[in-house]
Symmetry: D2
Subunit: 334 residues, 4 copies
């Protein structure tokens, strides 16, 4: 019963098979192969408009390259205090951006509101002496499993635009959000004002497939340059491309995410908590957590030390039996 993270999961058969399917013959390197050449089209279809997509090795890379593209070194990145870019990337955004500053906002469920954003953007009384608020970065879904609705994304986008901020979305679990909302991918990205999206597939069934999706096409050249300089231009481009093509084909990405969301909803029900995506946050106290672990469950504690809180993440291929067993355990704690 491993609920530690969706990055503990293996890869989907369709995606693994795609690697074999492209593994034939000599093809041009560095993204000039036939599969890489189809990526823009495939993503453009998913997003219902022309986009450019750049594959990279990790979500950290996708985020850091996006941020460096959207803020000057003397800018600040407004983000939630629990954002992955703040807590889990060992300073990659600062490194890639040449030393921009992350300015932290509060908010329930690791979400930020337009009011909080407006307040943070306005807080810059010292002119040349302060870094300049330059961009907003949010996570969809958030690090607390919450989801921004299309209207919420749009409202943030409007506030950002009004404050002169660019807009980045960390979509390491974008699939889970779209599957949960039942909306169009466009509705929670560019239609809401997002300029660059870190679109991840690794957590949801790929081996290693992360990307930057560029909605503001004028940024494409800079993303390409920063990717190359970061060592993220794969020489054998066919393999990341094949993973993404299989991931998007026939809505596989949404099917996998929907399955994980559905099983997570069972866990949330059993625990008596709210749960929107494939992450569930429970708070059974230290004793409760110990009982779960004694029964074989694996997961991370969450929140402040000793808060008695934990995070359960359901993977795309989590065995149903594990979820059932975990549900029983969770109910027994109530």
């Amino acid at each position: 019963m491993n609920f530690k993270s969706d990055n503990t999961a293996s890869a989907a058969a369709e995606i693994l098979r795609a690697l074999s399917d492209v593994n034939d013959g000599a093809v041009a390197a560095y993204g000039d192969d036939p599969w890489s050449q189809k990526l823009d089209e495939a993503f453009s279809a998913v997003f219902e408009r022309e986009v450019r997509v750049f594959t990279v090795a990790s979500g950290t890379a996708a985020n850091a390259i996006s941020i460096a593209t959207l803020t000057p070194p003397w800018g600040s990145v407004l983000c939630h205090r629990e954002a992955h870019i703040e807590c889990d990337e060992c300073g990659a955004p600062e490194f890639f951006s040449g030393g921009a500053k992350l300015v932290l906002m509060e908010g329930e469920g690791a979400k930020v509101t337009p009011a909080t954003l407006a307040e943070a953007a306005a807080r810059n009384a010292r002119g040349i002496h302060s870094v300049q608020p330059s961009m907003l970065s949010i996570s969809q879904t958030t690090e607390r499993g919450s989801i921004y609705t299309p209207a919420e994304v749009f409202a943030l986008g409007e506030t950002a635009r009004g404050a002169g901020l660019r807009f980045h979305m960390d979509g390491a679990r974008f699939a889970n959000a779209v599957a949960a909302l039942g909306c169009k991918p466009a509705d929670v990205s560019w239609r809401g004002g997002v300029d660059l999206l870190s679109f991840g597939a690794t957590k949801n069934g790929a081996l290693a497939a992360e990307s930057v999706v560029v909605f503001d096409l004028e940024l494409a050249e800079e993303v390409a340059r920063r990717r190359k300089r970061g060592g993220h231009l794969f020489c054998k481009g066919r393999y990341p491309a094949a993973q993404f093509l299989a991931y998007l084909k026939d809505g596989l990405w949404l099917k996998l995410a929907a399955r994980a969301n559905g099983l997570a909803a069972k866990l949330a029900d059993a625990a008596g908590v709210a749960g929107e995506s494939n992450q569930v946050f429970i708070k059974p106290g230290a004793e409760g957590l110990a009982k779960l672990r004694a029964a074989g469950a694996q997961f991370y504690d969450w929140g402040a030390d000793g808060s008695g809180e934990a995070r359960l993440v359901v993977s795309w291929n989590q065995p149903e039996a594990e979820v059932e067993a975990m549900c029983a355990l969770l109910k027994s704690l109530r």
Copy 2:
């Protein structure tokens, strides 16, 4: 007849199969899976001493992380004018190192000699006003297909040590050199004084498997940090690990390289030029190159514009028939 580069080749069956073999069940992420945990041991066996290895997404990343670890920002990196780090990485070494300077040396076959190195290291008359020579970086094999013998590596290592320089080796085609020399991997790496080695597998049969091999174990922590900050710590570590384990198993890496070297030797023979590894440099003039292309050969021009020179690279799985056909063409030009 695609002789453009060995990165146009597909992946070896053994390595592709290794991905399926590890694609089962939930395992710890970020290098704590069972296969990643075997990497240090596998590399230590190959190198006959304790090493630490860090997988990354590209050779550029391996080089840039190594360089950033071995030079302070105010240092200079002594390398050949044709080095990949100078010509083909869009400034990645400068980016990762915080702005160190590449100082260029000349030398036949893209090789540098101890004398050239000593002279370059001594050329620093301006004290605080100049960058400080901090490290040597050589490519094995070189960008001109040449190979450093164990004695040559050792002599460079001694000169470097005497001048207070650290020593990096770009081993994107390390396998081809070792296969050609018939020596131990240790003989052209740490026994010669190399501190960090970019050890690549992608060009020689992997899908995407590059790494930094750490011989000076005190550098391991810094390499780990720089890898994470560069977005090069794969979350599903099992897949790059599996590629490397299959690559090293039963000497697969040397078999593949030896095959490419052998076929390249035939091309060199046919063209009447010297050829040590899987790269062959021919100079049939503009007309000759046109004839080759008209007959269906694909390759890159090399050297200065209009030099009538070209590079032919043989891949690990280059069809023998292609090589035979190319040999016939090359002979016809003589």
Copy 3:
């Protein structure tokens, strides 16, 4: 009645005269002139031990160079939320350090306590995924006019050392602290564990004289390199050197600071608030502040918008009549 900042003040006659005194003949550039050569000795005498001192153009430069020397790019700098390095340097610490992160601590009077420091240093549960707490930076005096006693500096130094942190002090107003404490400069610097001190003279009577004082002599070479690369090595070194020599001579620096402190104490008395150095923080409400301004007083609002709070800074040469007039105004508000 300009109480905006001590950087609005002109320069002391002794220091201006020192510029003329050295303005004769050709001397070696870049710090090899006779006056620059005396700097280390003069500072060593003041600090009762061997130190190295490096003049720079601004306090921001002194801080940023110090920070870059004490933290790796993947480190974090623990500092108070109101620290100058966080609020007023437009990201210079991030720029010079290659993207280190400032992690903010709370504390009355912009001071941090050993307990707060210990807690912040321990908060790093995510291993390779987080930046690593690498150093402490405090301001003496603080941005709220508070002063660390020798015992407080020592306690912070011990906590820092225990947590593996280096220790930087921003001494833009170091003179005011030493004058107020009546202690030895050593007692609130290296004896308390400080590794690098930004020692400023500009606010206290110089034209432009800031410096990094190096207590851990092994850091001197790196400070020298970072200064040069930052464009802070003056070619005509005699002029900053002369300012510092005059500043330290016969305790001028402490006399000027003591005068400012003394006048500030009168303001504090008149306002009925505590005041330790040459900064006084008053809270007469919006109406009170308006009255002061209507009467001709100049100062900055402080704290959150609408807090009705203000900062008064007394300069080394603030006319006594201005202080008397201001005292009368402040009393009238009570």
Copy 4:
């Protein structure tokens, strides 16, 4: 007889006096004082058009900030092999620019020609794999004492513009060039296409006064930000401003430069070499240099080790007697 460099000289009486003249009363800090506020106007008058000027602490800072403003991190800076930015700034351009690459050109007298520039700008066959030629940087006067005529600057500017390059001029000795040419400052700067000019006064009579003059006004905001982040925004702005105002007043800067040029011409005559500015390059051989030194002359060897070459620099206030004595020595060597 100190001919080592013009930065060994003291400051002009007019400029030193200007410091006293502004040393009265409290004024706004950070460039909002009355003298700083006059700088743009004074420089605009000199350059016959609207400019913005930003004072900094050193020529290295002026160059590095300019370069960082004109090239992205993935760009290259085309400059002469002997340029100060390449040889004497310890990598400051790389530091400020986030790792841009200096690409070196050859040319007599440390000058570059349009043909050389065009060739260097075109040399970029590797697309995404190479840094992108982004800007030209030349020195006026050059590190070999040569001077670009207005026509030469214009031709370079046209070639640069045609190749999509921005244009920076290192004017550490701009005054000597303008005085020698007898032209308008505009003729060898913005009329020739220069975007940013490092305009130095330190070598020509100031204590420490360097600046970036912005001709493309859209760059001003970025220069301001980079200056602040580099620690080059002086808090007491009146002192650098006063130096520049005195320097420009009644053509003092050109008078001082003309004097130095005139005396240098005598040295050149005596040595039988060409000399355009205040730097003279002689080649009397090792024995000749030894004789000069034995007679009390101080200077730097120049060129390759053992070339028997030396540089003589005449300062704005070089005693005429020293020049006469040196002339006699130089003649005795012929």
